[in-house]
Symmetry: C2
Subunit: 183 residues, 2 copies
Amino acid sequence: MASEQGFTLWFTGLSGSGKTTITELVVAELQARGSAIEVLDGDVVRQHLSKGLGFSKEDRDTNIRRVAFVADLLSRNGVPVITAAISPYRELRDEARGQMDGRFIEAYVKASVEECERRDVKGLYAKARAGEIKEFTGVSDPYEPPENPEVVLETEDETPQESAQRIIAYLEERDLIPPARGS
Amino acid sequence: MASEQGFTLWFTGLSGSGKTTITELVVAELQARGSAIEVLDGDVVRQHLSKGLGFSKEDRDTNIRRVAFVADLLSRNGVPVITAAISPYRELRDEARGQMDGRFIEAYVKASVEECERRDVKGLYAKARAGEIKEFTGVSDPYEPPENPEVVLETEDETPQESAQRIIAYLEERDLIPPARGS
């Protein structure tokens, strides 16, 4: 059964900025509160909706439009959704925002390329620098930071737990999620 | 706000069998009852989720898997969904059924190729016979009828209104939709 308040929490940020880790923490907290939640993770979407698409601007745009199409379907029916794709282009994020109107919450998972490259959890930056991955966001492909995101997560200065907590606080303030159990 | 009872009403049948017409009638009745409903129409899905895919078996399968992926996301969150794609291959429909378990309702919109060709609302059969459309289901591409569908709509013997009413009756019997207003 879906919550009565649908929204799309749209994470955007470089590879390695912390989107997936923060998503997992937010999901755990929402589930603990008994809230429905669906996650459209970048990798999952590439697998289920966008197999065959590459990383050209055109293919990235198509991929993001599909994410937005599904997030819109869910959120307008009262289902909270988290999307966690790099979504590097401002225009496409703004298109998703327009589509979902007041249900769209943009959360900028902020970390510099240098920091993400230092973390390099998946070893992708090393491959990108070596030229083994073409069109890699932040290295050989652009990333356009949001201009007016609802939330900015300063992941170089706060832990993933702190970032997740700030998201939860924002959702509480907007009255979009149930209160913590026992509170 | 979503209904508490999610399900996927999966129409399958030839082009021209009546999937879209019956869908529109069912949607109108559900909306009159105040039920949420989302439609994943074959053409809409090709536009929003599957642009670039063709009509080879492989591409058809990918398309249907995407429809099932989205229908599953919605229905497991309490949102009623109607899919109205030809979905010619039994194996793929059964895969969707397995994925959605008890939430999957297969409705076979039955009409012979001869009858659909006689109707030929969109003029597609004429083009297929003329060789202008390749891989056209029922003409130059296979259609595998369901073996144990929950509902069979005999569209050569009943009107679209009667077919829609039989769907509504089935959903009522399963207690999946609100009662008619005023009843």
